[in-house]
């Protein structure tokens, strides 16, 4: 017992010495504490990887914590970042409320906080510097815009919609943005809309039912690629050609979508970019240098039509 404690002490002492020696060499190196939600989806994993890679490339010392989708873990992580006196704290809040106390602690320790990917609800907006993430409404608008510009066939256009999980921010906002744009042309009508829970199996099941009930479906708008991929299987089973007989528009631009696009079965996927690492690192540096930031920064996101898929595929990281 005594021995182990002694060795622990000496290890701590050694740590101090090494740290002390190393300090002058890295005097300018920033330390960023990042509290991630977890690893619940491919999207999230790509998000984590991008942040880790970008930190390395930008020469920022990253302290990374995985909250396993629990708020208390994230709060613990933020507290430990404060105790370690990191330069900047960034985190992707698991839920929207309940952050005031811990963020006040960060504020009184004079550590700026950046939110990524999801926002929070608070009465005191000075608790965080900025929020960087995807604008779901804009993604919906881009999907609608692509459709208006590229749908050439004459006559009425019957659109069926596969919504995301009921009540989730991406489902609500993507629907809103899409409807906002297609309103401009009375030919375009959403004839059926049902939730597919963002999953392949539900997307397929719902699309099967749609196809039996409605003989005239011209366009499918899916709130994410997974549902679109499921629906493609249903369309093929109905003896139709996805991408030709039914135009398919979806959002996320994950690898699976590119594979479907290369096979000519998906017409377009609007990017929802998890790779906000490089942008985050730039902002971290600017914040530390004292530059003012807008309260909301949108990630750079593209639109990938079928024709560009093969060229873009090798560059995709998620």
């Amino acid at each position: 017992m005594l021995k182990s404690r002694r060795s622990l002490l000496s290890a701590i002492a050694a740590g101090f010495i090494v740290g002390g020696l190393a300090l002058p060499a890295f005097a300018a190196q920033l330390t960023l504490g990042f509290a991630q939600v977890g690893a619940e989806s491919e999207w999230r994993t790509a998000n984590t990887q991008s942040i880790k890679d970008a930190a390395k490339a930008a020469g920022i010392n990253l302290k990374f914590s995985d909250a396993q989708q629990k708020q208390e873990n994230q709060i613990k992580a933020i507290r430990s970042f404060i105790a370690q006196k990191v330069d900047v704290i960034a985190f992707a809040p698991v839920v929207t409320t309940g952050w005031d106390t811990v963020l006040k602690e960060a504020k009184s320790a004079k550590i700026p906080v950046i939110l990524t990917d999801r926002s929070i609800e608070t009465k005191d907006p000075s608790l965080y510097v900025t929020m960087i993430g995807s604008d779901f409404t804009e993604e919906g608008r881009k999907a609608g815009k692509w459709l208006l510009e590229n749908y050439k066939n004459p006559g009425d256009v019957n659109i069926v919609e596969l919504q995301g999980t009921v009540g989730s921010a991406p489902a609500i906002e993507r629907k809103k943005g899409f409807e906002e744009v297609i309103k401009a042309d009375p030919r375009f009508k959403i004839t059926r809309s049902q939730t597919g829970d963002f999953t392949r199996s539900k997307g397929k099941e719902v699309m099967e039912a749609f196809l039996k009930t409605d003989k005239k479906v011209n366009v499918l708008f899916a709130h994410n690629d997974d549902m679109a991929i499921g629906a493609i299987q249903a369309i093929e089973a109905a003896g139709m050609k996805p991408g030709k007989d039914i135009i398919i528009v979806s959002i996320d631009a994950v690898k699976g979508a590119f594979e479907a696009m290369m096979a000519g079965k998906l017409n377009v996927s609007v990017e929802c970019n998890p790779q906000l690492g490089p942008q985050l690192m730039d902002i971290v540096k600017e914040v530390k240098a004292g530059k003012a930031q807008p309260k909301r920064i949108n990630t750079k996101e593209g639109v990938f039509p079928m024709e560009t898929a093969a060229k873009e595929f090798p560059n995709r990281k998620y």
């Binding site: 977890g38 690893a39 829970d197 999953t199 392949r200 199996s201 039912a209 997974d226 089973a237």
Partner: protein
């Protein structure tokens, strides 16, 4: 009442009468809103139509409901079947995996492990899950709901561990046959259900197994005293239930060509329990009907299908579903029907 012919009365009293009525009613509702509901065409050499969809999509639920029926018949319950589906789905997907290899513009598919081996492996893992449940319930004497709760909670974690938190996509064409293929125009998944059903019915009716299960469900102590090894029976019933979940996982995984540790088989345990209940099996154990559970599963899927084709706003899906289930349970309640009958008789006498 005497004027009704005897076979008609017998039919009315048959256990499966009310579940069948419910199913027929739901089909009529579907038909009312979608005139093509009963149409069956042949497309690409396969039967194509709403009814086929419902049968095909209900296949995993039918399988799990069969296993669940036996568990419930022995006064047990297994709430870990959804997690078992996630685990064995993850196992089979990552064992087969396969990758899309593009060489000189030609796509080819490669499997990691030979497919039969992967399927056997996944089913073995499912069996392992069931043995664990059986051990806790029959061996350690734990309450079934608590014993299976352990795997229900841990299972999705295990599945995530296997898939490394990712959705594993399968790129190996032959595997797709299980969940998407057709034999003589009929979905392969239905053959699987039929095989399990026939095997189970033979076991139950041609051997004493059905009687044993019923005896254990009605009174485990009395069953033990009459020479039935109740513990072993209960143990293997859980094992069987998990294997049906494993088979369901093969269909689900193959159907969407991917394994999703988070969502595969989500809430399947509740649907299965509901299917068993709708089919007339008593949750208090003893009385059970395998065929009833199949009809229960079809009722659930037909209802889901109705919601899709009716254009119910997604926000209130669950409420509509709950209302129908509530109504169905009322129709099938003997006590309520007896009460109504008394009421009708009384008003009849008064008039």
């Amino acid at each position: 009442m005497n004027r009704l012919p005897a076979p008609f009365l017998a039919g009315l009293r048959h256990r499966l009468f009310w579940p069948c009525v419910t199913l027929a009613l739901l089909c009529l509702v579907n038909f009312y809103f979608n005139r093509g509901f009963f149409d069956i065409e042949i497309k690409n050499g396969a039967l194509y139509g709403s009814v086929i969809d419902i049968l095909n999509r209900a296949a995993p639920l039918m399988l799990v409901a069969m296993g669940m029926t036996l568990v419930i018949a022995t006064r047990g319950i297994d709430i870990s079947v959804g997690a078992t589906v996630a685990i064995s789905g993850a196992v089979v997907a990552s064992m087969i995996g396969g990758s899309l290899v593009i060489q000189n513009g030609v796509q080819s598919y490669v499997s990691n492990v030979p497919m039969p081996l992967a399927i056997l492996g996944a089913l073995a893992v499912a069996l392992l899950c069931g043995l664990w449940n059986g051990l806790l319930v029959a061996g350690a004497g734990m309450q079934p709901i608590i014993a299976t709760l352990i795997l229900m909670v841990a299972g999705r974690g295990i599945a995530q561990l296997i898939t490394a938190g990712q959705i594993v996509t399968v790129y190996y064409e032959p595997f797709f046959f299980i969940g998407n293929g057709f034999l003589l125009g009929i979905p392969v998944s239905l053959y699987i259900v039929a095989v399990v059903l026939i095997a189970l019915l033979l076991l139950i009716h041609r051997t004493a197994l059905g009687l044993f299960i019923q005896a254990v469900g009605i009174n485990p102590v009395a069953a033990r005293f009459s020479g039935i090894s109740a513990r072993a029976l209960v143990f293997w019933v859980y094992a069987f239930c998990a294997v049906t979940a494993g088979i369901a996982a093969m269909i689900i995984t193959s159907n969407v060509k991917s394994a999703d540790g988070n969502n595969a088989g989500l809430l399947l345990e509740l649907d299965a329990i509901l299917a068993v209940t709708l089919g007339g099996t008593s949750l208090a154990g003893g009385r059970f009907s395998i065929v009833g559970s199949l009809i229960g599963a079809l009722i659930i899927q037909t209802l889901t299908y109705a919601i899709y084709s009716l254009g119910v706003p997604p926000e209130i899906n669950m409420v509509v579903k709950a209302l129908v289930v509530f109504a169905v349970c009322l129709i099938q309640s003997d006590a309520l029907r007896a009460m109504l009958a008394r009421h009708v008789l009384r008003t009849g006498e008064a008039a």
